[in-house]
């Protein structure tokens, strides 16, 4: 008998199986045990979802939420990387700012929603700001750690080979930090997906979070579940896209993570 671990396509099979089992139990539980109004069965949810997809309603909400995530994430990452490599290199600046960073990183984007609304209103800017905020600290901390951990031997080797300080920094330290930076970005991406929802629930008139909020007010549990499923799917797809892009463009900087 062949070992199941060796069957090709095993991962896909398992994933499909896992989802099928979950849907089946969900269907059974919500039909026979729980109140189907509180937990609508999956077939009901799908029936609700189809017109929402066809009318373009979901797509509109998804794209507005995603554009908020992407803009905030892109600027947050960029700012954090620039700032992080400087702080990682300039000890004095780091020691000066580190206590503040250590305190500020506990201010989650959710905690910043009320003040963001006052500063930026309920338009796009407040959402950009909140995602930026969440992304910035995660990527910053990881970037600093990456710069610090650039092996001293590698920097000295570069110095021996004739590199000046700027070259060591740009050609050796930053590439050495790349795996840490990318890991930070991936975590920040996941966290952006989590923070966009409360931001839109509390301070928006569009987006997936707003859809949740509106459906809740109208007691439309079917639509709430459609929104929740959409969030799961989006997070998953975005993480895969991110990993794919990293693998395509940064593979040579990532491959050595396992090597010392």
């Amino acid at each position: 008998m062949r070992n199941f671990a060796a069957v090709p396509g095993r991962g896909v099979l398992l994933t499909a199986g896992s989802i099928a089992i979950a849907f089946l139990s969900w269907q059974v539980l919500s039909t026979f045990i729980f109140n189907p109004f509180l937990i609508p069965p999956p077939l009901e949810v799908i029936r609700t979802a189809i017109p929402m997809i066809l009318s373009g309603e979901i797509l509109a909400d998804v794209s507005i939420s995603m554009s908020r995530v992407l803009v905030g994430f892109a600027f947050g990452s960029l700012a954090a990387i620039v700032f992080g490599v400087l702080l990682g290199r300039l000890q004095l600046l780091h020691d000066l700012l580190d206590p503040i960073i250590e305190l500020m990183r506990y201010l989650s984007p959710t905690a910043m929603i009320p003040i963001a609304v006052i500063w930026f209103g309920i338009g796009e800017l407040s959402k950009y700001f909140l995602i930026f905020w969440g992304t910035f600290f995660i990527v910053l901390v990881n970037t600093i750690a990456g710069v610090w951990r650039a092996p001293i031997a590698r920097q000295r080797a570069a110095e021996c080979l004739g590199a000046n300080q700027l070259q060591i920094f740009v050609l050796v330290v930053i590439p050495s930090a790349a795996p840490y930076i990318v890991t930070g970005m991936r975590v920040a991406m996941a966290s952006s997906f989590m923070s966009i929802i409360p931001a839109e629930i509390l301070a928006a008139d569009s987006g997936i979070g707003y859809l949740l909020q509106k459906s809740s007010m109208l007691l439309q549990t079917n639509r709430i579940f459609v929104a929740l499923l959409t969030i799961c799917l989006l997070g998953f797809v975005f993480d895969r896209i991110f990993r794919f892009l990293v693998a395509r463009t940064l593979a040579r900087f990532m491959s050595f993570v396992a090597v010392t």
């Binding site: 590698r154 000295r156 570069a158 021996c160 050609l171 050595f256």
Partner: protein, 259 residues
């Protein structure tokens, strides 16, 4: 070529500063292989870092060809034991060698020839498109050698470069290094804690005492033809002499490490 005069190195430490080197005198002649042998923790790496210019001595002076050493210089290249972290893992074999040529602004037209030459010398020319993670430990060390030779330094400073390799690979690396040395006439300072390795490679062996306050307590001239076979009675006698010489210091180093 290289000259150390009463070099002292003190590291700030709690509860009191740690005196790693306490008056090291050393002269390395052009084209020789000098092995530095001593128990671990005695300050071999520290001494090499001072020679490389990575660390400034707390007192005393270091010079290379009569000029005081003030920082890492283009004429001295350091080798590290952990090639995995010393190499540039995001560059392939060829690009690792090219790095030095690029930062030293060697004319582009010469790159291909230089890279070919040194990759062939260390027998890596068939692996030029591989990344360091795809190489064996011995190949990584050979890549370190090729990368260093490509910028044509006069001095190679080697810090236990083969200590992490298995015995067979290490023997092969000794042969590779000696052959390169005979061909290029580089000056080599080779740090090791392995007596057999020091005897295999060295023209002279500098014995370092256990820290703190380490010095070079004795220098041994090796007037033995290469290749040196440990089964040869003269070589075996030398091995035993050195072992006896080192024994009290190794015990001392062990005791200190146990604290």
């Amino acid at each position: 070529m290289l000259q150390l005069d009463k070099v002292r190195k003190v590291f700030p430490a709690a509860p009191e500063p740690y005196v790693a080197l306490d008056g090291v005198d050393l002269e390395v002649a052009d084209g020789e292989i000098l092995c530095l042998l001593g128990p671990s923790g005695c300050g071999k790496s520290t001494l090499l870092n001072v020679l490389a210019g990575f660390e400034r001595p707390s007192a005393g002076s270091v010079s290379c060809r009569g000029a005081p050493v003030r920082g890492a210089g283009r004429d001295r290249v350091m080798f590290f034991q952990d090639a995995g972290s010393a190499l540039f893992p995001w560059l392939n074999v060829e690009e690792n060698v090219r790095f030095g040529l690029r930062v030293r602004k060697v004319p582009k037209a010469q790159w291909a020839g230089i890279i070919d030459n040194y990759l062939r010398m260390v027998d890596l020319d068939r692996h030029r498109n591989k990344f360091p993670a795809q190489l064996s430990g011995g190949m990584r060390q050979r890549l370190q050698i090729a990368r260093a030779l490509a910028v044509e330094p006069a001095v190679l400073l080697m810090d236990e470069p083969f200590a992490a390799l298995d015995a067979l690979t290490r023997r092969r690396m000794h042969a590779v290094l000696l052959e390169i040395w005979q061909r290029t006439g580089k000056t080599i300072v080779f740090v090791t804690h392995d007596i057999a390795e020091a005897i295999t490679l060295g023209d002279r062996i500098g014995i370092m005492s256990a820290g703190p306050c380490s010095i070079i307590s004795k220098i041994i001239d090796l007037d033995l033809p290469r290749p040196r076979d440990l089964a040869d009675p003269a070589v075996a006698r030398l091995f035993n002499d050195i072992e006896r010489l080192l024994a009290p210091d190794i015990a001392r180093a062990e005791e200190r490490a146990a604290h």
